[in-house]
């Protein structure tokens, strides 16, 4: 049973979208409505992440269903690509281009005049840290530089929707951190930044919402905390560091929703596994008020993309 999604003007929407390559399934019955911010597409190889991105940008067409990008159809390239930038996974470039000419020529395709295209090109090159290599041939770039020049091309025209397929591949740790900071900054500015990545712990830091995919299906979507809460079969793990861990441990043991409570290695905290986080937090409040328990930290330890991924998909696909 699918619910129709309104084609909202500020959202990226998929309405019952399926894509088949002959008999092979790409994605099946995808319904999504992505708000602005950073959205991570997470899933193993072949789960349909790239297919979803290619559908979004009209590089391929759905076998069934409708897609809306800020109210525009991928069949309207003239309007769509003024507002969308896509950094694909294809590590290839037009022959003989330099970093500068690659970005400049693609901007010229927008119909932008030379002076403005020149300004936007340098601005984009600066944002990805490639100004010094701008006049060198892209064919001589390292993998990380090629990744960055594609990113520069995708952001050069200031799109409202930025689609990034594995944008961290090939980047060194410093460049990764800078790219993530850039994505997060763009997300905070109200852009749609849709990222697919294998590096879950890094993506987790910047994502406002996640879409978990497996075998062409969307397994879960939403803010990571909400998704985690929905995974009932795996009790939530919460680490509480407080003034009296033994007291806390003894109290939580008596609760029927608590599956496990164990003292941390340094003896200053309790790791609690509970089926009902809300009731646990209520209990914690009571302990603070009634038993003068001083809390240092309360931190969910499996409320991240990686854990949710492992719970929902990891059992069938050990690696991503």
């Amino acid at each position: 049973m699918t619910t129709p999604i309104p084609n909202s003007g500020d959202r990226v929407t998929f309405e019952n979208v399926s894509k088949f390559y002959g008999d092979v399934l790409g994605v099946n019955r995808v319904n999504l409505s992505l708000p602005p911010g950073v959205t991570s597409l997470v899933g193993p190889n072949g789960s349909g992440k790239t297919t979803l991105m290619n559908l979004m940008t009209g590089l391929i067409r759905p076998t069934e269903g409708r897609i809306g990008i800020l109210g525009l159809s991928p069949d309207e390239p003239e309007e769509l690509f003024r507002r969308v930038g896509y950094c694909t996974q294809f590590d290839s470039f037009p022959k003989g281009v330099t970093g500068y000419s690659f970005v400049f020529n693609m901007l010229k395709l927008h119909g932008i005049d030379n002076r403005e295209a020149h300004r936007l090109t340098w601005e984009a090159l600066e944002r990805v840290g490639l100004t010094e290599a701008a006049e060198r041939k892209v064919a001589g770039y390292s993998k990380g530089m090629r990744q960055r020049i594609r990113l520069a091309q995708a952001i050069s025209h200031h799109p409202s929707v930025l689609v990034l397929d594995e944008p961290l591949n090939g980047l060194d740790p410093m460049a990764r951190a800078e790219s993530l900071e850039l994505f997060q900054g763009l997300g905070k500015q109200g852009l749609h930044v849709i990222v697919s990545s294998h590096i879950l712990h890094e993506v987790d830091k910047v994502s406002d919402q996640v879409v978990l995919m497996s075998s062409g299906y969307v397994v879960a979507e939403g803010q990571i905390h909400s998704v985690r809460t929905e995974v009932k079969e795996h009790p939530m793990q919460i680490l509480v560091r407080c003034s009296d861990p033994n007291l806390l441990a003894s109290r939580v043991f008596a609760q029927d929703h608590v599956v496990e409570a164990k003292l941390s290695d340094d003896g200053k905290g309790v790791l609690v596994r509970t089926r009902d986080a809300d009731r646990f937090y209520l209990l914690l409040n009571q302990l603070v008020v009634n038993d003068n328990l001083n809390l240092e930290t309360v931190a969910p330890t499996d409320d991240d993309v990686n854990s949710v991924y492992q719970y929902l998909i990891g059992s069938e696909n050990k690696t991503i």
Binding site: L59, E78, F81, G85, T88, P94, M106, L109, G111
Partner: protein, 293 residues
């Protein structure tokens, strides 16, 4: 009824004036510029240069013999030789295969080099992209073959000295050159459109080449109405110097039911427009699937 058609014409004009012609022109200009660089300076296009300039080497040799007194051909004989070079070499071989190489590579090359998606991710209508690429290919092919033929023409008449100069500048020479160059451009338009469309339909250019070559060669034996779907049907009659029709060669040179000059000029252009219209339909549905290549 008249009011209705007047209304439709007004609507059509209004709709046309609302189109972003300036943007499309700029985009087409960019696509042509990008493609010209690739077409002219790619190593894989060397054989097209050889095709275009092969007669230059031969006529250069001939000119050297003439100038050193080792050959004494008459201008009439050389004019007939030039007509033969154009009709048999340029029209049926060099321009045909040159256009095959250039136009089938416009999209197919981008697919093989995995760079077509950059065009598809730009705010460019597929129709504009196709037209830009076609014009880029047309400029490349026309300038290569026109330059090749121009040099051949020069080397044919230069050794004749003042008589040759008189023939070119005060006789029919310049008119013939203009006609040959015009036919060259029309041939590139016709073959270019056909090969571009076929490259969007089929992956292997050899198959379309064989089909079109067969069609262009044997269409003269078909009814004249059917012949009109052939590029050479129109171009043969635009060639300024007829080649004597002897035996088997008559198949390639004789036009059974000639059309007017205007129709002969418009024929390849209309043919190309129709073919390009269908090509835009294919281009609109084109998906990026490099894995299959």
């Amino acid at each position: 009824m008249k009011a209705l058609s007047q209304f439709r014409i007004t609507q059509f004009r209004k709709s046309m004036s609302e189109q972003p012609w300036e943007l499309w022109t700029r985009q087409i200009g960019t696509i042509i510029r990008m493609d010209l660089r690739k077409n002219f300076f790619s190593r894989r296009g060397v054989w097209i240069y050889l095709l275009a300039f092969a007669p230059v080497a031969l006529t250069g040799l001939h000119a050297a013999f003439m100038l050193t007194g080792h050959a004494h051909d008459s201008m009439e004989a050389d004019t007939a030789v030039l007509a033969g070079i154009f009709q048999f070499f340029y029209l049926r071989l060099a321009i045909f295969f040159g256009c095959l190489g250039i136009f089938t590579w416009l999209f197919r090359g981008e697919i093989i080099e995995r760079s077509l998606h950059y065009y598809f991710l730009a705010p460019v209508r597929r129709e504009v992209l196709l037209l830009g690429k076609f014009l880029g290919g047309l400029l490349t092919a026309s300038s290569l073959f026109a330059a090749g033929f121009f040099l051949t023409f020069f080397l044919i008449y230069w050794p004749h000295g003042p008589a040759g100069q008189f023939f070119v500048f005060h006789g029919p020479g310049l008119g013939q050159l203009g006609a040959y160059l015009g036919v060259t451009v029309l041939a590139c338009i016709g073959y270019g459109a056909v090969f571009l469309a076929l490259s969007l339909l089929l992956r292997n250019p050899i198959i379309p080449a064989v089909i079109v070559l067969g069609w262009e060669t044997f269409s003269p034996v078909l009814p004249s109405l059917v012949q009109r779907a052939s590029v050479t049907y129109y171009l043969k009659q635009l060639c300024p110097v007829p080649i004597p029709a002897d035996g088997f060669l008559a198949l390639f040179t004789v036009v059974s039911e000639p059309v007017s000059t205007v129709a002969a000029v418009l024929g390849p252009i209309v043919l190309a427009a129709v073919v390009l219209f269908f090509a835009t339909r294919i281009a609109r549905k084109l998906e990026i699937s490099y894995v299959a290549e």
